[in-house]
């Protein structure tokens, strides 16, 4: 797998969600709602013999409104739902990719991230991506 191509492919697919700004790498600044494809937490080589396949855990950070806003909770919920037009899991897993073989949205952690001094509600998605080793 080519890391840059994988991150681009995931970002491109995420960009099909209406009104969500998507970045294929961590940007210098962003305006919520936005999704950032970050660098892999783990990149495991040699899942099969002869450089047959590799695997990575790729995080996506999705930031919505201020943490104290009820509307932020509702908006984040739409991205975190298992189904629906704004469901990150549904949208990513229904995509067709050439940069890798398989993608699964495994889990979500919730956190608060500070951007320009403002605390925003964020969801941290973990993606399990499996693809060719060479």
């Amino acid at each position: 797998m080519n890391l840059a191509a994988v991150m681009d492919a995931v970002s491109t697919r995420l960009d099909t969600i209406a009104n969500l700004r998507c970045f294929a790498y961590p940007p210098a600044k962003l305006t919520p709602p936005a999704a950032v494809v970050s660098y892999p937490e783990t990149y495991t080589f040699d899942e099969t013999y002869g450089r047959g396949s590799d695997r990575m855990t790729l995080p996506i950070v999705l930031v919505v409104g201020r943490v104290s806003d009820r509307s932020a909770r509702d908006e984040l919920g739409a991205y975190c739902n298992g189904t629906g037009a704004r469901s990150v899991k549904a949208v990513l897993q229904s995509g067709t990719y050439t940069a890798f073989d398989s993608l699964r949205v495994v889990s979500i952690d919730f956190d608060v991230v500070s951007i320009a001094g403002v605390d925003y509600l964020a969801a941290l998605f973990d993606l399990d991506i499996f693809g060719p080793g060479s």
Partner: protein
């Protein structure tokens, strides 16, 4: 002498290279044992018999035409050639070649992981061990 990593291991069945879909394989060399203990002995005495060898392999499922399903499933119950190179492909590296009866092909689908496969084979006749 040096320890050898398993990542370069090569394995093919019926001349189809399955290495890219395989992440585990075993080649077991064994022999029958015959009890030839006679009166007066305080311990069993054994004599070696015929060779009896087995092989297994498994890995990650792939839906391509040369993947494990399309390759192995039609071979269950037939005798074909297994080639295994534990140190990979290269001049002077060891290779075992043997006819095997493909006894079992198994697919497993865990809900939270990739589909995997495994294959069990009974060796038929002598193993040819050579250097490539």
């Amino acid at each position: 002498m040096a320890f050898v990593h398993g990542k370069n291991t090569y394995i093919s069945l019926n001349a189809v290279d399955l290495s890219a879909f395989t992440n585990t394989s075993e080649f077991e060399r064994g022999a029958d044992s015959h009890d030839v203990t006679t009166y007066g002995k305080n311990d069993h005495v054994f004599s070696g018999g015929l060779g009896n060898n087995r092989a297994t392999m498994g890995g990650v499922y792939d839906n391509g035409a040369a993947g494990p399903r399309d390759t192995i499933e039609p071979l269950v119950g037939t005798v074909v050639t297994l080639v295994r190179r534990p140190e990979g492909t290269g001049s002077g590296l060891p290779q075992d070649s043997v006819s095997v009866l493909v006894e079992k092909y198994v697919e497993s689908s865990p809900v939270a992981d990739m589909v995997t496969w495994s294959c069990e084979m009974q060796c038929s006749d002598a193993v040819t061990s050579t250097n490539q």
